[in-house]
């Protein structure tokens, strides 16, 4: 990335975005993102925009146009289990391949990792984490817990100040991603305007639709080398509808847990049969494995077999 030769006016120099795109290997990465992550259309669009912007910034750099390091700090908002952490991990990969962060690792922290227990404990703790995240992405889950408006002596404020300082002065050394529920994040940003202005990308993660949750389970099953029978699929569809009505529904996370429990029930069922079983039996998840869930126990009898 050398400086442009002063002899040629910048307007006449050309650069092929396609070669740049190919060199950055960003294509396969985005394709992977499309394949591996179900749904999340607005998020994917946003990531594609960011990737395109980074590519153009790089092209500008190569042509010697002014391009000051772009602000890459992001805020991910959304309900639990909507893939914020997963996307953050991908983000580290994308930024790394584009050459905007040097190492491409993700350091995932919460309030406990940043804020100390007594006076003078917070700053070293926060700095330690920041040092560890240098060259990569610092992912702060449930960032709003850093700010406790009801307690003005709370050490969280100290961590926030250090964070803000590093976010501003060492933009090319690390990227910060804040994540949390939307309403609480909004309130957090209202009380910390410094944060809002330092974060360029606000990305909202929508809840998954029922069909998307189903295809998530299918992907999980495929990865774990299980198969769902046709009836199991129907049962799963019922399950998703029922589970959504219950408290603490955490989107993909709930569904993944449900899938893991159905594997347990399948194992139990096979052991109880006790006879010779085939490989097909070992991979197949039947409707009974799903209908055995306690979610169905509390629901109306019409959906149980």
């Amino acid at each position: 990335m050398g400086d442009a030769a002063p002899a040629t006016p910048p307007g006449s120099r050309r650069i092929d975005l396609r070669t740049l795109y190919a060199d950055s290997e960003i294509g396969p990465l985005l394709a992977e993102l499309d394949n591996d992550l179900v749904g999340l259309e607005p998020v994917k669009r946003r990531i594609r925009e960011i990737a395109a912007f980074l590519l153009v910034t790089r092209a500008r750099e190569q042509l010697g146009l002014s391009s000051g390091a772009p602000t890459l700090h992001m805020a991910f908002t959304g309900n639990p289990g909507t893939g914020k952490t997963t996307v953050a991990l991908r983000m580290a990969g994308i930024l790394h391949r584009l050459g905007f962060i040097r190492k491409g690792h993700l350091v995932s922290v919460t309030r406990d990792d940043l804020v100390g227990q007594y006076i003078g404990h917070t700053a070293p703790k926060t700095k330690e984490i920041l040092k560890r995240a240098m060259g990569g992405v610092l992912f702060i889950d449930e960032a709003y817990y850093l700010h406790r408006p009801e307690n003005e002596k709370d050490y969280g404020q100290e961590a926030i100040e250090i964070l803000l300082q590093v976010m501003e002065n060492q933009r090319d050394d690390l990227t910060v991603i804040l994540a949390g529920y939307r309403d609480r994040m909004d309130r957090f940003f209202e009380s910390n305007p410094g944060f809002r202005s330092r974060i360029a990308h606000h990305v909202h993660f929508p809840d998954f639709a029922d069909a998307e949750l189903l295809s998530i389970v299918e992907k999980l099953a495929l990865q774990a080398e299980y198969r769902l029978s046709e009836e199991a699929r129907v049962a799963l569809r019922d399950y998703i509808v029922q589970r959504r009505l219950q408290p603490n529904f955490a989107n993909a996370r709930s569904i993944r847990n449900a899938f893991d429990r159905s594997r347990l029930r399948q194992a139990m069922r096979l052991v109880e049969i006790g006879a010779e079983i085939s490989a097909d039996d070992l991979v197949m998840i039947e409707a009974a494995d799903i209908r055995g869930s306690s979610v169905f126990a509390n629901s109306l009898p019409k959906s149980s077999p």
Partner: protein
């Protein structure tokens, strides 16, 4: 007299970019970096003051450079060095150590001769700086 200790000691002082590159190398090897400072330059003085704890689990030189900069700012008239510790079984020792900052004026060493039995001469080094109490050496 310019103090020559550790790796690269006969090269001109490393620039920050060069120091970063060395740190990257050490991190790539999985060594833990530590920053230390002293105002007693005697070659046998292996116990320098630690500037914070050694840094484990780092991925990037920027974190170490931050500490180096902070240490230089706090101890401008002392020697600052970086140690890279290899915790691998069988090594468990410092693999790389080099000076990253030195006082503006280095008075150097005096050679001391002590006459021993049978007119044997024993030699030792004495740093002029250590004639003054700690904290008041190097201006």
């Amino acid at each position: 007299m310019r103090l020559t200790q550790g790796t690269f000691s006969y090269l001109p002082d490393l620039t920050d970019a060069q120091i970063s590159a060395q740190i990257e190398y050490a991190l790539g090897k999985g060594w833990a970096l530590g920053v230390e400072y002293t105002d007693d330059p005697h070659p046998r003085n292996t116990y320098w003051e630690m500037w914070g704890l050694p840094m484990f689990d780092l991925h990037d030189a920027a974190g170490v450079m931050q500490e180096v900069t902070a240490c230089r700012a706090a101890q401008p008239q002392k020697y600052v060095r970086i140690n890279a510790f290899d915790a691998t079984r069988g090594w468990e020792t410092v693999r790389l150590s080099f000076i990253v900052h030195r006082p503006a004026d280095e008075p150097g060493f005096r050679l001391e001769r002590t006459e021993d039995r049978g007119r044997t001469i024993r030699y030792t080094l004495h740093a002029y700086a250590t004639d003054k109490p700690p904290g008041r050496r190097y201006g």
